[in-house]
Symmetry: C4
Subunit: 232 residues, 4 copies
């Protein structure tokens, strides 16, 4: 069942330690088959060096395990909320990567300071509000997804134009049209976060970049008039 | 004698350089056989690339060498004090890992800033008080253990809920139910310390995370109602 | 056509990920054949692990593709402006390497703080002014080159004595007599940027080094009376 | 001539890039044969990946090349001054390692903040005064050695108790009884410098450690009553 997607989600998960984004089992990647309405996700707490593609768990949009003998990631309910709300998203990643997590712990957005940021994120990378005690003590993982969605709705953000978020006091979620793209955006967010944090450490002037330059860089890679890379 | 424990303690010691926690011989791991009342510990000042499992030294709870031709770690007396006071602990690690040592040198606790911390440490990671001249000039290594134990007693901390400490002006000790878990906690402490220090470098607001979120994350992984990972 | 230069430019491009200067395709190296008036440059957006020497694109000084089936780097027009203005330059590199980019985002020059800097850069490493909306919305990549050239003209800088620049809110360009030297200078700029930024993070006194020492170090390696290295 | 010492000095030089202390040719190690009054040192500006033990240059105490076809390191005169003044020293290292160089550029001593420091350096790691224009424009490399020696004389420091120095606006020199020990101390200085700098970045209280603890740690590893390591 969904063997190809399992293989891709498995490989995307294996990229997390390879790219230095996680220690131990501190991350998870999922992918979705929109036609079947099924999600493939990493099992919870399984070591990467023994994990196999066949360990990937298939769940439906209500979080019920459809196939697989292991528990799905404890963050599955967060992934589901994001897939429900962000209809163009095909893959989601959660990590505790160092710099993105530092930003989450600071409770602040990452401002767009330069073209590295602008090549991928069309404006600040938002940090969610703190969750309420009720949200934390209730369906916590589902509420985590809801607070992310609320952030995008309230700020009127296009999830594919801002393909990553900082969950307050927690860590990042990133996404993309595919699991592979979601991992790519996770690597990029980590580097952008490292640059922005380090910049603030020794500069008093921490103004965002010019809007014109943000537009130029994002739109030369994304959207109808993109001209970066090879014709496809 | 205790061949299996020696093998495990040896492997746990070898993990320290592999995980980037030490330079040269700047660390040591021990394990305890509670039934026999014997501790297996790394020899003092032996290079990791020539060390063998059979070099591990067996000492009793008074620090007397029971087996082994090498001197035990100079920190042996500290380990013994911790094993005596923390009865559920099965393995102990000492390193001078970069960020944990930086925190020790700052003489401050590491506040709980996010869920990465909360997944492993149930509250701040304590820094011990400075030792007195008498303690330093007396049975220094034993007194180091005593000041750690004092810290846990005075703050009423459960050693398995806060499985690591910062010795003031020195470096970290971590522990766990086994030598392997103690090393795992040492890796985690280093990453938490790096995140917390870096966060403080560019943020004015350095308030601890919400208590509800700390509770949620620690208790979903630890304690009676844990639901992270696979059923065991 | 230009097979040897293509091979060299290819190898110089491959050095960027090897030296840790780039993630993904975030960089490009070119080389010039001054006699033929032709530039060899990396194709746009091609993954490094599949790129071959034969993928290098040959363009003329007007940016027209003379040979090659792929699009040249989107930064080609910047390279051309630099080759036109800096006549002794034989190779150019653009990256988003971490510390040089952080400095670009800070919008400030890197002051000469020590001999590591002075061994390669004869004075501050300049950061360009912000580009105007007209420049950004017009021939952006060409204007990027022009603003670099303007910086060197206005400050009366010798491009071979200051073989690298920080483009404001963007990232570094470096150059040299050859593509290999340009990459070397890119590695050096990254390390100098890291040292200078880190130094400013914990010091109030951030005065430049003495002029005499700057002179001594630059001139013992460069110019008529150099005595560093082996006779050639 | 001095084949064994050449082999050792060569290997000690090769350790510099292996330990991450240098980029390109930014360092040099020498060793001395006190009986013969001859120094073996790395040649100037030779790439590490082609350097051989037979490339090591033998010079006498006046800096004259006694054997070898290559120019000796441009820092040879500094090494000679140190060997002349510090009679127990058997090996010397110069690098531009990142954190030690950052401290040199800051122009400040590294205070003793913890036991990692105290295990190797008995007090602050000194930074030399700025050199005068006359010193820089005269016999610069020799004067560099002289200003180091002046620092130790004026502060009444034992070179083997403080086996490394920061040359103002330049970088570190370290030494030891042998070339191998000098490299070891260079690795240690880099780590101590990283810890101390990072600590100052996020702490207001930057007081040195207690003298008693400094005494305890240095003297349990060094001097007549040392008890760290194995009996020799």
């Amino acid at each position: 069942m969904l063997e190809e997607l399992k293989e891709r989600v498995y490989k995307a998960n294996m990229e997390l330690p390879e790219k230095g984004l996680i220690l131990y089992t501190w991350g998870n990647v999922s992918g979705i088959d929109r036609e079947k309405g099924l999600i493939v996700i990493k099992p919870s707490g399984v070591e990467y060096d023994v994990m196999k593609a066949s360990d990937m768990v298939v769940v439906d949009m209500d979080g019920r395990v459809v196939e697989g003998s292991l528990n799905p990631s404890s963050d599955t309910a967060t992934h589901i909320e994001l897939y429900k709300a962000f209809e163009e998203v095909g893959g989601i990643v959660h990590t505790h990567s160092t710099w993105a997590t530092i930003w989450s712990q600071s409770g602040r957005d990452i401002k767009a300071y330069g073209t590295t940021h602008a090549d991928y994120f069309y404006g600040p990378i938002p940090c969610t509000r703190k969750m309420t005690a009720e949200e934390i003590e209730g369906e916590y993982e589902k509420e985590t997804g809801r607070v992310i969605v609320e952030t995008y709705r309230e700020r009127n953000l296009n999830p594919l134009y801002v393909p990553g978020v900082l969950v307050n006091s927690h860590g990042p979620f990133t996404w993309g049209k595919s699991p592979e793209e979601a991992v790519h955006n996770s690597v990029v967010l980590e580097e952008i976060g490292r640059m922005a944090a380090s910049m603030e450490m020794f500069n008093e002037n921490t103004k965002s970049m010019q809007q014109e330059l943000l537009d130029k860089h994002f739109l030369r890679k994304h959207g109808a008039n993109a001209y970066y890379g090879q014709k496809k």
